[in-house]
């Protein structure tokens, strides 16, 4: 009898649950951009590293980047400091280029991407990176309206943003064999029982990428989008359910899994 119990417990532990990890760090990945002066014989490629510093064909550009890493997770550089041939097509007359974005930044979740241009904050046009990041820092948890011009577009777009919590916040409380609770800006999770095998759930905002061929260039690029991923499991994942919702389009997919391998619902 005791052997069976031990085997059962071992099985539950092995099956375990999904990861309770809710942490999310680092910058939004950025692909390359061809400035207006790029020529087929001598192509120019503007890139930005994970600190938001700009480079041209892999060589560093001495352009100051102002960052607000705490609430809105954004880094800005003034495109007007670049020579006209090195400016992106949507920032020909200058503007504040977004060169760094925290992957859980309210701007990133709203669809803003590296190389988009920040035009105004709360109706006030911005042209100085330090002042703009200062405005966002002062805004804190209050709602702000930002005006951005997307890469590949000339039309400004207004976005209402709110910073729910500092982007670096993450907490965990655990009591072995009883419960494990995790909470962060990217989501939260709770597990009950040894190795969360009794029951667990997790809700997390995840970043997914799609590789695309961009029009007008031979370089491959990619698009990123945020998905809300909710899942729960019980009895060592004998019962498991998950749902994914695209935050941009609202498209939802879900499935239910029984006995670890019998799956019902959408293909995920």
């Amino acid at each position: 009898m005791s052997t069976r119990i031990a085997l059962g417990a071992a099985l539950l532990c092995l099956a375990g649950c999904g990861s309770l990890d809710v942490s999310s760090r680092g910058a939004m990945p950025s692909d390359l951009l061809e400035p207006v002066g790029s020529h087929p014989e001598e192509p120019l490629l503007l890139g930005c590293d994970d600190q938001g510093n700009l480079s041209l064909n892999g060589q560093p550009l001495d352009l100051p980047v102002a960052r607000e890493p705490a609430r809105y997770g954004v880094g800005l550089a003034d495109a007007a400091e670049l020579p006209p041939p090195w400016r992106p097509p949507h920032a020909l007359t200058g503007g504040l280029l977004i060169t760094w974005l925290h992957r859980q930044s309210p701007l990133a979740v709203a669809g803003v991407r590296p190389f988009d241009v920040l035009l105004a904050i709360d109706g006030e046009s911005v042209d100085d990176p330090l002042r703009a990041t200062g405005q966002l820092r002062d805004a804190g948890a209050t709602e702000v309206e930002v005006l951005v011009r997307r890469r590949g577009s000339q039309r400004p777009e207004a976005l209402h943003l709110r910073s729910e919590a500092p982007l670096g916040d993450l907490s965990r409380v655990s009591v072995p064999f009883l419960f494990d609770r995790r909470e962060g800006v990217a989501g939260d999770a709770l597990g009950v029982g040894p190795f969360s095998a009794a029951v667990w759930w997790r809700e997390r905002r995840e970043l997914a990428h799609e590789l695309r061929q961009r029009t007008g260039t031979e370089l491959p690029g990619f698009d990123s989008r945020h998905e809300a991923h909710f899942e729960w499991g019980a009895l060592g994942n004998l019962l498991y359910w998950e749902r994914r919702r695209d935050l941009a389009t609202g498209e939802e997919r879900s499935r239910f899994r029984l006995l670890w391998f019998l799956s019902f619902g959408d293909d995920l």
Partner: protein, 415 residues
């Protein structure tokens, strides 16, 4: 009785260990340069030495000449460097920036993306090329894509650009009618080559010039080092600097902060190199009172910090431990701090250019809490543990690493 002596002996032999580290003298970087009266920029080099370099965007200094707008064009007025390619009187007609081609760009990106694609699809590596030709859309796993280099350009070419003639330069280059047309090229000083179409003595010529970044150290006598160095700060009197190197808008009776150590209490309070401060304000700051500094962007900021004191260690074997040096604090109760311990340290984190506070406490070895507080938020982890006491492990690792960390800070290493 003998057992008691053995335990006491072991405790004395093992000691309580020290969490205190040598004062970290490594210099803080300057967040931004400051403009001088001569139009150049004061900055800090990697070793914390004040240097002067051309103002960001000043192409004339990068070319080594003086430029002026004249009759709808840009004319070279004088040479700043004897070896400059341009001569006084040259009129610049067009500019073509010869950016070295990045031969490795597509290959590296394709390689990375293909690797990521293979991870998600398990298909041969040619699938990406085929997919791109078909303009189809493929999904990549986020984790795989995150492993790709963020800056996908990895192999800038070092080859010399091909020589050009006047006609090609006029066709491919950008016409220069004012200094505004030359704006921004100095952001690439140090690696960029410019082909310039110039009119010299009535004839058009192509001149190839490399943009150079002249950086020279600023030598100045420190102000009252005996009063400031122990606090991890060095300043120079603005009046001691050459007139052209004095910060714009700085008064002669002000002091320029030339060095702030990482462990300096005033550094933790927000003082940075190239800040300006009046003598009386600095004296107030060194005494622990609130004082005002002027940041390079002109913003005035009030700071206050407890002056650096003498490190304090109190140790009663098996009963009590207390260590404090202002940057690190440790309190422990019981044999080897097993009853209770609390540790806190504040360190400069170069990758964030900010101070990070780490803390932890545990009661017994089971109830515990630890956390890291930085400018971006707080990461905390706590609860009850039975098998592996992570906080206690960190505590031991800190002791283990203390000597290595001390060496990193330059202590214990023979010159």
């Amino acid at each position: 009785m003998s057992r008691l002596w053995i335990v006491l002996g072991a405790a004395l032999c093992s000691g309580c260990g020290s969490f205190l580290l040598p004062f970290d003298e490594r210099p803080l970087p300057a967040p931004q340069g400051v403009e001088t009266l001569s139009g150049e920029r004061l900055d800090l080099d990697q070793e914390g030495q004040i240097v002067v370099r051309p103002e960001r965007g000043d192409l004339a200094l990068a070319l080594g000449v003086g430029l002026a707008e004249e009759q709808g064009g840009v004319v070279v007025t004088h040479r700043l460097r004897p070896q400059a390619g341009l001569r006084p009187g040259d009129r610049i007609l067009a500019v073509w920036a010869r950016v070295p081609p990045a031969t490795g760009v597509a290959r590296e990106f394709m390689h990375s993306a293909r690797g990521a694609l293979d991870t998600s699809r398990g298909r041969p590596s040619t699938s990406l090329d085929a997919a791109l030709e078909e303009s189809s859309v493929l999904s990549l796993s986020g984790a795989a894509l995150d492993q790709t280099p963020r800056n996908t350009v990895v192999a800038p070419s070092r080859s010399e650009p091909a020589p050009v003639d006047s006609a090609t330069l006029r066709a491919r280059g950008q016409a220069v009618r004012s200094l505004e047309d030359l704006r921004g090229y100095a952001t690439a000083a140090g690696w960029l080559t410019l082909d310039l179409l110039v009119e010299r003595e009535g004839q058009e010529r192509c001149v190839r010039v490399d943009l150079e970044l002249d950086v020279s150290p600023v030598l100045a006598r420190p102000w009252a080092p005996s009063r400031t160095r122990y606090q991890g700060v060095e300043v120079v009197a603005v009046s001691e600097l050459e007139p052209g190197l004095r910060p714009l808008h700085a008064a002669d009776d002000q002091l320029l902060v030339s060095r702030v150590a990482r462990d300096a209490p005033l550094g933790r309070a927000g003082l940075r190199p190239l800040d300006l401060v009046r003598v009386e304000e600095l004296e107030r700051l060194l005494a622990g009172a609130p004082g005002e500094v002027i940041k390079p962007d002109g913003v005035r900021r009030e700071l206050q910090a407890e002056p650096r004191g003498v490190p304090l260690e109190v140790w009663i074997p098996l009963v009590f431990t207390y260590q404090d040096d202002g940057a690190r604090t440790h309190v422990g109760l019981g044999p080897w701090d097993t009853t209770f311990h609390y540790s806190q340290r504040t360190d400069y984190e170069p990758t964030l250019d900010a101070y990070v506070e780490r803390w932890r406490w545990s009661v017994g070895t089971s109830i515990q809490n630890s956390g890291v507080t930085s400018a971006t938020g707080t990461v905390r982890s706590g609860g009850v543990t039975l098998l592996v006491d992570r906080v206690r492990m960190d505590y031991l690792l800190d002791l283990w690493n203390a000597e290595r960390e001390a060496r990193t800070r330059g202590a214990g290493v023979d010159p």
